[in-house]
Amino acid sequence: MNNCEALIIGGSAGSLDVLLKVLPKLRADLPFPIIIVIHRKHGADSLLPELLTGRTPLLVKEAEEKELIRPGTIYIAPSDYHLLIEQDRTFSLDSSEKINYSRPSIDVTYQTAAEVYQSKLVCMLLSGSNADGVNGLKTVKAYRGMAIIQDPSDAQVPYMPAQAAKNVAIDASLKIEDTAKFVNLLS
């Protein structure tokens, strides 16, 4: 894909391991931002950015409300808030009802991002045990963005990417070892 303006990675149970394997292999000059929405227990808040910092050449930080989204940066959705993308390419936070028993919900970020980035959005759904993200991928496809999943046979918990494969016209299904290469080739 050309002109990728954002990559959004969603995941739940079993997805942290994928991030720890993939993020270190990303090139330092990625021309787009990566936004990560991972389900986790409320309170485990600042741990994820800390865990990922230093393992990748890219800047890792928690997404802050009204913050301008910049290329070459990895943003992590804070726990207990939905993360939304605004037309002016800033973040909004929202503490409304859980969606798919989840806050942050992957669907919310995918859907609001699809309206902003449209065909220049790539969304990737990793390992997980519920179907959050599947409806979001449908919206991404409706706006002609790209929907990618972790190959379910390669996922610790295959349910989430398998549900996406069943319900959405997926553009690619990737094994962990091929994922970094795929992302590095997006431009």
Partner: protein, 261 residues
């Protein structure tokens, strides 16, 4: 377009709200209520005051809990309340109180520190329906396990269940907690300052506003806060980008700022 109707017809101004968030709330209600068309939906909101009430109830976010973010309440208990205790009358404003969980949490804190008798807690929201619920002081019994855990983590040492009586699926909080709370409508977007306070809490409200409206509301709080008073915001909100920041000093670790003198 819809937002312009609301301002003209009812005087509710949602134009300074963060767009993606309010759009998602409106779309959610639109599909929830299965309106036939957007035109019909818009007409109903503009011409049916009862439906308008539902609209406001549904598009504003009313998710809250008791002792939410326990470390925040711990800081209130250990650092803020002892300072407030030195005043003959303590005035607290909870702006955007929703269904009242935070107001009752504050009342419990004040009671445990033997300050409730000389306190007044103004709890306000733009939405009359949630205030009616707040005034009843009844919350889901199924929530109590979580609230009790929050309470203990915040430094509470009593039996949390001593603060309420179970009635079917509800927990009715003791009336003595309610005596010093005044529930009232107040719209942060359009209404003015109405008193001076030593503590203002406004948590998880500013995230729904754009920067201009955030600045406006923070100025309103600044006007309503006494010197050396405290301003408490939500865990992802900040005073940092406001020109007011230089007048305030932040407490370590929590989103609590103290006004200088």
């Amino acid at each position: 377009m819809l937002l312009a109707d609301l301002l003209e017809r009812y005087g509710y101004d949602f134009t300074g709200y963060s767009r993606a968030s309010i759009k998602r709330r409106i779309t959610r209600l639109y599909s929830l209520d299965k309106a036939l068309s957007f035109a019909e939906f818009r007409f109903k909101i503009a011409n049916d005051p009862i439906y308008f009430k539902r609209f406001v109830e549904q598009i504003t976010v009313n998710v809250t809990e008791m002792f939410r973010d326990p470390t925040f309440f711990k800081a209130l208990r250990n650092e803020v309340m002892p300072q407030l205790g030195t005043y003959p009358l303590i005035r607290i404003w909870i702006a955007g109180c929703s269904t009242g969980e935070e107001a009752y949490s504050i009342a419990i804190l004040l009671q445990e520190m033997n300050l409730l008798h000389k306190s007044l807690v103004y709890a306000t929201d733009l939405n009359p329906a949630v205030l009616e619920k707040a005034a009843q002081g009844m919350f889901g019994l199924s929530q109590m396990k979580q609230y009790s855990e929050n309470y203990i983590l915040s430094g509470g040492s009593k039996d949390f269940s001593s603060y309420y009586t179970a009635k079917y699926s509800l927990a009715k909080f003791n009336d003595d907690l309610r005596t010093k709370i005044i529930f009232s409508t107040h719209n942060l977007v359009s209404d003015h300052s109405f008193n001076e306070f030593q503590l203002i809490l406004c948590r998880n409200v500013l995230i729904y506003f754009d920067r201009d409206l955030q600045h406006k509301v923070l100025s309103l709080f600044d006007e309503s806060l006494e010197e050396l008073g405290y301003l408490a915001l939500g865990s992802k909100e900040t005073l940092e980008f406001s020109p007011l920041a230089k007048k305030y000093k932040r407490l370590p670790h929590e989103k609590i700022w103290r006004k200088g003198n």
